[in-house]
């Protein structure tokens, strides 16, 4: 570890705002929406106190927040925003444009259920709805990870082989409003890690004039889409390289996903964000009883690390993929669908089942997770699956 670090207690939203303060972006444009409101709120205090020299733009809607961020990023400067749920939905058309213009915007998304019915609590319907918009997506278990992911996201986004926007997720209220102990880097270390923005190639680089956001007709549109996919492909190497560099600085290890006690596991859960922490707690309890259980915590959802996941999933006899969103396909949630697709032809002896959990903030506690492991251990024992797709913790 080469970085100078300090133990602090911060909420998840404070952790994001702290990372943003240390990054000191040129422009932040934001519109408040629960539960991400505190991010621009804390950040605006940093602006008012002169702790950052960011141009802070208080716009009149999320559509304008993303549009202003796109404008600033296209001009060539470092630009960020933050949002949740319906705020992200209201940005919709411009979210796609940010990706297709290859703008290295970093946007924290504090996960919240999309209306309706109206609900302000956590699920992943907002960011999963945007999974096909062309943004890199990183998920965070806790306050520590959301901080670490924001700092790494900036480097990933701005890498010349990538040049794509990145969304960084954390669970609304669960971690965003929960105070927890964590470790932050010194301002100098973050400044050195993110480096100076290269202002060349933007609209304000008058020596190299470019046009952006143009009409793209039949012969070219498909080529540009293919290039976006190539950038996603390139991102996979860049994400690992930057994780390695970050580990040297902090001692904290990041990859596409974390394997927790998977070495000899026969049954495992695959889950994103804060519920992975609860699952670790349950894995420890079950391990004390000699049960061979493990956990795969997915950090990277876009691009999807299918090949690598298949290798990890091969080790177990039964896997439960947990989705905090439903697709209404009646065939399972988005993570389940992607995981099973990645396993096609690669994984032959693993039963893979799906649980929809925690929609609209329904609390998922250790007993809920325990019941999933019990179901899995039964599958391992009997080789039989009663149900491939079910809702967790509700009476049906």
């Amino acid at each position: 570890m080469t970085g100078k670090q300090q133990k602090v207690s911060l909420s998840g939203n404070e952790a994001i705002a702290t990372a943003m303060r240390q990054i000191n972006p040129d422009v932040v444009a934001a519109y408040p929406i629960t539960p991400s409101t505190e991010v621009p709120q804390y950040f605006s205090a940093f602006v008012a106190n002169g702790q950052v020299d960011t141009d802070f733009v208080t716009v009149e809607s999320e559509h304008s927040a993303m549009s202003a961020t796109i404008g600033a990023s296209a001009a060539g400067v470092r630009a960020m925003t933050a949002t949740s749920a319906n705020g992200l939905a209201y940005m919709w058309e411009v979210v796609y444009i940010a990706a297709s213009m290859r703008l290295p915007i970093v946007m924290p998304v504090v996960n919240r259920a999309l209306s309706g019915p109206l609900n302000i609590h956590c699920d992943h319907s907002d960011s999963m709805g945007a999974k096909d918009a062309g943004w890199i997506q990183l998920f965070s278990e806790d306050n520590q990870e959301v901080y670490d992911n924001i700092i790494q996201a900036l480097r990933i986004a701005e890498h010349p082989d990538v040049s794509l926007p990145v969304m960084v997720m954390q669970d609304g209220f669960v971690t965003s409003h929960g105070l927890a102990d964590m470790t932050i880097l010194s301002d100098e270390d973050v400044k050195a890690f993110v480096g100076e923005k290269d202002y060349t190639g933007g609209l304000l680089d008058v020596d190299n004039p470019v046009s952006m956001g143009l009409m793209d007709l039949q012969p070219y549109y498909i080529k540009h889409k293919r290039q976006q996919v190539q950038a996603m492909e390139n991102a996979k190497k860049v994400i690992l390289d930057i994780a390695k560099e970050y580990e040297e600085l902090t001692g904290r290890k990041y990859s596409y996903f974390e394997e927790y006690k998977m070495e000899d596991a026969e049954a495992a859960i695959l889950v994103l964000n804060s519920t992975a922490g609860t699952a670790k707690y349950v894995v420890d309890l079950l391990r004390e009883q000699g049960k061979k259980v493990g956990l795969i915590k997915l950090r990277l959802f876009r691009p999807f690390p299918g090949q690598e996941l298949a290798q990890a999933i091969k080790k177990v006899k039964a896997l439960a993929v947990m989705d905090r969103i439903d697709t209404f396909s009646t065939w399972g949630g988005p993570v389940f669908t992607e995981v099973r697709n990645a396993c096609y032809g690669q994984v032959k002896d693993t039963e893979i089942v799906n649980y929809i959990y925690g929609l609209g903030g329904k609390d998922t506690d250790a007993n809920d997770i325990l019941s999933v492991y019990q179901d899995l251990m039964k599958i391992v024992e009997t080789g039989k699956v009663d149900c491939y797709y079910q809702y967790l913790g509700i009476e049906e």
Binding site: G178, Y281, D363
Partner: protein, 194 residues
Amino acid sequence: MDKMLEIRWHGRGGQGVKTASLLLAEAAFVAGKSIQGFPEYGPERMGAPVTAYNRISDNPITIHSNIYEPDLVAVADATLIGTVDVTAGLKKENPIIVNTDEDPKVIKEKLGFEGPVYTVDANSISVEALGKVFPNVPMMAAVVKVSGLMSYEEFYSLMEKQFQKKFATKQNVIAGNLKALEKAFKEVKSSEEV
């Protein structure tokens, strides 16, 4: 501490129950513990029932859910008894602390709870010390005392530092809160005392 300490707070919107859980987490953090402090968000209205939680441990805490089987319950408003099931999931060996001027034996009866019941008159203490009803600091003192989380001296000095940070320009608020904390620590009563 061998085991993680899990605390559930009950109160009403405006009484500072969320702040109490955050302040307690902060104090335990400064004392070198792993911590969580979080409220359960619902409709936010003055006077509506509010729940908040703490997890405190010597080891990293990974669990992220509400607390259903607390090691200790703190009730900042005795009028919640009968409205909210404040002893839900509380085992009979684990304590509950209630802000009231009534005798702990009377409260024990009202709660119909078999385990130890502690009381502290946090309202009167805060009125005397601060001139207003802010039961959260005296309740925190009672929680620290009953849980044995840390010594009185350590708690007092940690809180003094926190108050100095929080109320740097209001010396009388610092003095008042410290007085409330000191008095509450002394005046906690137990249903098990003869």
